[in-house]
Symmetry: C2
Subunit: 238 residues, 2 copies
DNA sequence: ACCTGAACACCGTTCAAGT
DNA sequence: ACCTGAACACCGTTCAAGT
């Protein structure tokens, strides 16, 4: 591996190499430890050398986002819009599980990169091909929101923070102390039921994949119903 | 106002004052310009003085989050769970519009503060009182995710970044250049339709409140249907 | 012309010196 | 015992000096 490091150091720096090293660094030790200085050190290069391939740190983040989005499977050709959308979103989710820092990075950048625009464009295209009006497709895209890129949208997402400590597995769940359970009885009731199933507690006892698909199907079923009813927006003119 | 600043400086420092000054600073100039040093300066105090009321910056953020969550209206007493949930979430949304930095702060902290736990507990209680099983209430809470706190969950949320530049109104939208429209025809089609309605472009031409309620009602209607059907989880035992 | 070390203007937080 | 200035270990980025 010293040899590999040597090879990496020897290879000429390029935007491509910078971006992939940055993604690897964020995957490995968390986004909060991604600094221009750390990245340069990983690449065996002086910090200022990065600035020839990347204008600044924001542009680095944009590039990293495009690398991640580029890993999402292409759309499956399918006559059934629902299946096509479902498959692509589940693929996006698998990609995000490899890059748990990506959702927060995407949200904090708040600018559509070319790769994200291409992804959204294809998704809208799938709805339109499935017979959706421009109007309905528009609102449906808003309603799915970040879930369309595979975001879990959980308030507290253990996976997202996994990279924080550099650990691959999240901390073993701290059992809910009795006085907390007394103050929040409904939360405790759910945590208890979940831990009964899985010998764990809230957030840990939940099957992330089940929860994601439950929410996704709830949305897709609702959307299908609107489309079949020939929904049109009843926006008040102004 | 020099007088007011003087009064503020004279008042003894307290955790309460520190937190409210931090919220005001984040509201005014954006969360990225909230530093311990800037906050101390606003309070007319030396930076180290803050550390007697707040252990560190993470705890400051937790406290700020609790201030914001505390501004959400209490649950309306209502026999109809759907109306009660809807009203409380719309109240949460109004609060977040006053504090556009809060969603990102909450997501980046990834720890339930007492105020958030109390909010979630009350929400679960509303579902349970409406006849939901523990099981269904659990999955429904996951499916709503961060929307339950009024998050728009939009991929690109103009409001969230509004505090960035300190401007109250977002930048006037840059019109989509023709070559971008050609590369992303479906996005362009939607942007065109939206701008036809509102003389604006994608993201700007959308009625945020309409999109939020559209998504919320899509979820609530789907949830109501599950509850009426007596849905139970078909989780495979292991 | 290109590259890069030093410097600048920041951070959060520690710590020891001052009262 | 409390308070706080200086210091430490970081940032992203500028800029001028070196090749």
């Amino acid at each position: 591996m010293a040899e590999q490091a040597e090879t990496l150091r020897r290879a000429p720096l390029s935007r491509e190499r910078v971006l992939h090293a940055a993604v690897a660094l964020a995957d490995g030790t968390g986004i909060e430890s991604l600094s221009m200085r750390n990245l340069a050190q990983d690449l065996g290069v002086v910090p200022m050398a990065l600035y020839k391939h990347v204008a600044n740190k924001d542009e680095l983040l944009d590039g990293m986002i495009d690398v991640v989005v580029g890993e999402i499977d292409p759309p499956v050709p399918d006559a059934d819009w629902k299946h096509a959308v479902r498959q692509r979103i589940l693929s996006a989710r698998r990609v995000l599980q490899r890059h748990p820092w990506a959702p927060l990075a995407i949200e904090s950048r708040n600018m559509a990169t070319p790769a994200i625009l291409a992804y959204l464009d294809a998704m809208i295209g799938t709805f339109r091909a499935g017979g959706f009006s421009v109007d309905l497709a528009h609102h449906v895209m808003h309603a799915m929101g970040s879930r369309i890129l595979g975001f879990s949208q959980e308030l507290f997402d253990a996976a997202r923070q996994a990279g924080r400590s550099g650990a691959t597995t999240p901390d073993p769940p701290a059992a809910m102390p009795p006085e907390v359970a007394a103050r929040f009885p409904h939360v405790a009731e759910i945590a208890m039921a979940a831990s009964h199933d899985d010998a764990s507690v809230l957030g840990q006892g939940c099957d992330d994949q089940f929860e994601f698909e439950f929410a996704l199907d709830l949305l897709l079923d609702g959307i299908e119903r609107l489309q079949q009813q020939g929904w049109t927006s009843a926006r008040r003119p102004r």
